[in-house]
């Protein structure tokens, strides 16, 4: 177990950090539903929840269906102002009793703790993920980190329970250096796990962009000193509070780049719907920019352009497809076109995970595939790079194709098939691009909904749980 002693800064780190200043931000955050009920919110927010909605939500307080306990309720003024004219944005940020109608789901989706060598670090193959903040400026109701944000007691591998904790730089830095030393000494592969060097770290949470510049700078420099070449920041702050991307933040980034010119920054941003970044006319339509494309919210566009003009920073958007928010091909088509035009690559769309309460948010897997496929009709090739991904315990898996035609003579394929492709395995690289084929089930929202119609399982998505292809079951 790595020691928990504090990180010791190098002179180079100290010199960089001495240049960093914190900006001042006024997010005007509103959290806690009781504030809406007592009228203790600004005048223009008074009707954001109807009296009926508030009564329904408050009646669940203290029960096992308590919405605030499942996921704290929180939003910024910026998000509220856009959401006033956007039903999808309201669904994203407003608590609803349907969230806790069915509480089935996994406490630790993706079994992250299996891959956690020290508190707050998840090491999946060449990529490490760090929890550096346990909150965001606002909270998406569908959040798949609700166990972290809501500080829930999680069963650990050793049988104890405790809330998930945040990463500490000292411990993480020592783990990275030790792992990479063992890999280097062993000719490029870890002697026990066969993994390659840790080259890339994702700062996540919560949202790292809620942290002050000095705090973010401490992570960037500490990870660079540990030998990390690519640092990702996973953030929804462009949607929640774009003013966070202010001159003090960019001054910090520029100072970092001066000192660590070979470290890349990969901004993993999170827009779910074009309403989050586009201006709308009073009739609800988007506004044509006479010079091309559509009109953006100025602060959001300014932030994106400032990121995009730095050649060592890339910007990728990732979004789940969530019921009543963006299960809409037209919205996704506009989003992919506008993000790409403005320097944001479209990376993944996700099927919702099997979090507690997932049945309120997830759309069926085959429908999600259909929505994305429809949205990409009429996009140019470069605009349509995004793939649909679903996160299996084994790793990130693409929903590669859904067919309408039956496969003659194949048991389970009477209504067509769905093809899963394992994109990257969490433990090692050898299984990349292996395939699993299942018979269609239009109602399926998670892998186990296909247990009775597995046709071909090269990727081992089902065999690892003892589920065999249907024809083998029949033969036995």
């Amino acid at each position: 177990m790595p020691s928990t002693a504090k990180h010791i800064r190098s002179p180079r780190e100290e010199a960089f950090l001495a240049q960093v200043t914190n900006g001042k931000y006024d997010r005007q955050i509103i959290s806690d539903i009781t504030k809406f009920a007592t009228g203790d919110v600004p005048q223009d927010m008074q009707n954001f929840y109807s009296r009926e909605e508030l009564d329904d939500i408050l009646s669940l307080k203290g029960t096992d269906r308590d919405l605030q306990a499942r996921m704290p309720i929180k939003m910024t003024r910026h998000y509220f102002e856009q959401a006033q004219n956007s039903r999808p944005m309201q669904v994203l940020v407003k608590a609803s009793p349907r969230e806790t109608l069915d509480l089935s789901g996994a406490e630790d989706p993706g079994k992250q703790l299996t891959y956690s060598p020290c508190e707050g670090l998840i090491h999946k193959y060449e990529l490490g993920l760090l929890y550096v903040a346990a909150t965001c400026s606002a909270h998406c109701r569908f959040c798949y980190r609700e166990e972290l944000i809501g500080r829930k007691e999680i069963l650990r591998e050793d049988g104890t329970t405790a809330p998930k904790g945040l990463a500490q730089l000292g411990e993480v830095s020592r783990y990275i250096k030790e792992h990479n030393r063992l890999v280097a000494d062993n000719g490029g592969r870890h002697p026990e796990t066969g993994r390659e060097r840790l080259r890339e770290i994702l700062l996540s949470g919560g949202d790292p962009m809620v942290l002050g510049n000095k705090n973010i700078a401490g992570w960037l420099a500490g990870l660079a000193e540990a030998g990390i070449e690519n640092i990702r920041i996973g953030t929804k702050e462009l949607a929640f509070y774009p003013e966070r991307f202010d001159p003090t933040f960019f001054a910090m980034l520029d100072a970092f780049h001066e000192v660590y010119p070979e470290v890349n920054l990969r901004m993993m941003v999170h827009f779910n719907h074009p309403d989050e970044f586009l201006r709308k006319a009073p009739d609800g339509s988007y506004i044509d920019n006479p010079k091309g494309g559509l009109e953006w919210i100025p602060a959001t566009r300014r932030a994106v352009k400032e990121l995009a003009r730095r050649d060592w920073i890339s910007i990728d958007n990732q979004s789940p497809i969530i019921r009543d928010i963006n299960d809409d091909p037209d919205a996704l088509r506009i989003m992919q076109r506008e993000t790409r035009r403005n320097g944001i690559e479209n990376h993944y769309f996700f099927c919702g995970r099997d979090i507690v309460g997932y049945k309120a948010f997830n759309v069926p897997i085959e429908r999600a595939w259909h929505i994305l496929n429809e949205s990409q009709k009429g996009l140019s090739g470069v605009e349509a790079h995004a793939r649909l991904s679903i996160t299996h315990y084994k790793g990130k898996t693409e929903v590669a194709a859904v067919t309408n035609e039956p496969m003659p003579g194949v048991r389970g394929a009477e209504n067509g098939v769905l093809i899963f492709k394992l994109l990257r395995s969490a433990a090692d690289a050898s299984e990349r691009c292996k395939v699993t084929i299942v018979g269609r089930n239009p109602d399926a929202i998670w892998f186990n909904d296909y247990d009775d119609r597995v046709i071909f399982d090269e990727a081992g998505l089902y065999s690892m749980y003892g589920v065999k292809p249907a024809f083998l079951e029949a033969a036995e």
């Binding site: 914190n22 931000y25 006024d26 009781t34 346990a134 809620v210």
Partner: protein, 107 residues
């Protein structure tokens, strides 16, 4: 929405909260700390970190401490920002839990 530092911080000033605050929203007076209500992001990290149990979410603020909401707001606009943990005040342990500490607040 914000979190609020209340009376039992006075003359203790342990500053453990400063170490865990992700947004550096604590401001420091001679014998008391306050939270800037606009900068606080409601993350809850400081509440369990405070050895004197002096920090509350505004919606959980006991009635007897209600006036500390305004006091945090007022003083955070005057006092300097504190971003690094320091030693507590010399008699912190003996003042922890003492009655009537507001009378000892230095501005």
């Amino acid at each position: 929405m914000t979190y609020v530092v209340t009376e039992n911080c006075i003359r203790c000033k342990y500053t453990d909260c400063v170490d865990v605050c992700p947004v550096d929203c604590f401001y420091e007076g001679p014998n008391f700390l306050v939270i800037h209500p606009d900068e606080c992001i409601d993350c809850d990290a400081c509440v369990p970190a405070c050895p004197a149990k002096a920090i509350y979410r505004d919606t959980d603020l006991p009635d007897a401490m209600a006036h500390f909401l305004g006091l945090n707001e007022e003083l955070s606009r005057i006092w300097p920002n504190i971003t690094d943990q320091r030693d507590p005040l010399p008699d912190a342990a003996s003042w922890d839990g003492a009655e009537g500490k507001l009378a000892h607040l230095e501005r």
